[in-house]
Symmetry: C2
Amino acid sequence: MLVFKALESLMTVNGRLPVNVKVLIEGEEEAGGESIDHYVRTHPERLQCDAAFICDTGMPSKQIPALINGLRGIVYTEVEVRGAKRDLHSGEFGGVAPNPLHALALIIAKLKDAEGHIQIPGLFDKVRKPTEAEKEFWQNDPLHINESLLEEMGVSQFSGENEYPPIERISARPTLEVHGISGGFTGDGAKTVIPAVGKAKISLRLPPDLKSEEAFALFERRVKELAPPGVQVTVRNIHGGEAVLVPVDTPAIQAAASALKEVYGKEPVYLRGGGSIPIGALFDEILHASVVLMGFGLPDDNLHAPNEKYSLSQFYKGIRTVARFLQKMGE
Amino acid sequence: MLVFKALESLMTVNGRLPVNVKVLIEGEEEAGGESIDHYVRTHPERLQCDAAFICDTGMPSKQIPALINGLRGIVYTEVEVRGAKRDLHSGEFGGVAPNPLHALALIIAKLKDAEGHIQIPGLFDKVRKPTEAEKEFWQNDPLHINESLLEEMGVSQFSGENEYPPIERISARPTLEVHGISGGFTGDGAKTVIPAVGKAKISLRLPPDLKSEEAFALFERRVKELAPPGVQVTVRNIHGGEAVLVPVDTPAIQAAASALKEVYGKEPVYLRGGGSIPIGALFDEILHASVVLMGFGLPDDNLHAPNEKYSLSQFYKGIRTVARFLQKMGE
């Protein structure tokens, strides 16, 4: 939307665009994005370009423009545990029946311990080492990102791996999060059922070099290892996407930086994003284009949560920034 | 229903009942049964009786009539875990946010281990020792109850405390079962939310002498102890009921045994039930009546589960048995 407004403005003012633009719309990213993956892999010649601009990231605050130079990959799974052939009554079968919800708890508790350490053998073997500059940035937190994280969460302390700086944990460490658990009786009051089935949605965020297929295989093996006797466990790979870490000294990224500086009045910071935009890695791998990840979201946008919003001032500044970026690319 | 049919039949045949009958209908047992508890405690004189007959139990099979001489108590709880002030996106906050579902898994995994051992200090201190006859019955399983349990569950092995016979586990050991977990995203596909809240329904079945209030206090303390830092835990006591173990040499129980023998052609067995019928303990404690737990349910009735049924032949035999029981009580 914001990008289209920028293109429209350029057309209105100049009657033409400053560079050739190919628009690729991804309408199913939240559902895994298989179609675009297939399309890009089978049509690299039609999509040939110098730079691939993706406008789907954010900034630490309205005052701090940012370019994202890395994204994590993801593998999103569903773990299904089956016990008895039907729901059972705990007064009759409690103590001898397999309980899929208890089994799920046992599995999840051992996948990641109370201190936030993921316990999946092999998972950390391939993670690329960060640079000294990144380590320093994470440690010193010059942008006070930690403060804003705590405020957004409404908590007084960070959970997770205490021995790593919070910024590293949200952007460059592998993470494992449980997104949902279902099974049994969850209404008001009491029902003493031992459900036949329980399910959990669990994803891993993957730093560069840790491939999603590989991570899934390690995850699946570990989940099955951790399953208590008496239950059947199925692990489904709902979708995956790869991480990316891009060089920032390309003409395209420098043009984006210069546009941000013009509109926001200061140099942008370079940050890794903790989320996953699989087309970032895809454009890097297949099109060998300079991937520009410039976006205008804010930490309090409630991304993917109730009451999601988008700041109007960011929207308008974003349009101007993108228009200037394209003009600079044409120069 | 079955009991009313027996009363109706006796009235039809004899024009009168063989004994004085006071009928007390409990319509909210599954919701905790607070009203009947209050009523019985405040009206013991109106309910004065020699025997309190409760028709809400079962038999091991159509061929094996049974009288229940013990029931477990119950404490049914809801554990609510709260993390951040709102749902969060795992790409932005994964690795630093409290995750209530992960916290629930950690708590549940430590409340009961993979071998079925409940880890709640103090819980086993007050459990009454079984008799030698009971131990022998549990160990030898002359009625092949184990076989029928496995068949009903559709599994090849028992889960839980291997060092105790299955029959003891379902009827005389404390049990802890998770009945439901809810929180986060549980639909089809993927949503990378870290939910702000997760809930679990967990109950304990309590053998005689382990009071439900006491068990709740031990449970609550343990859950709070097990909660990882960064989350707030609330433990609610949804409802409780006490266990009961009745003597079987009373005239009322002997009349019931004799009626069962007449209708089924063999002596009934005496079993403890694993479920909870709080009015059993209530009548024992407040009315000092001989509590007769005679019922006609079968293991494959799918009690409290989808496709619950009641055998018609058991229904008709039950009516005859109850009528004969009342006649014998009058003799």
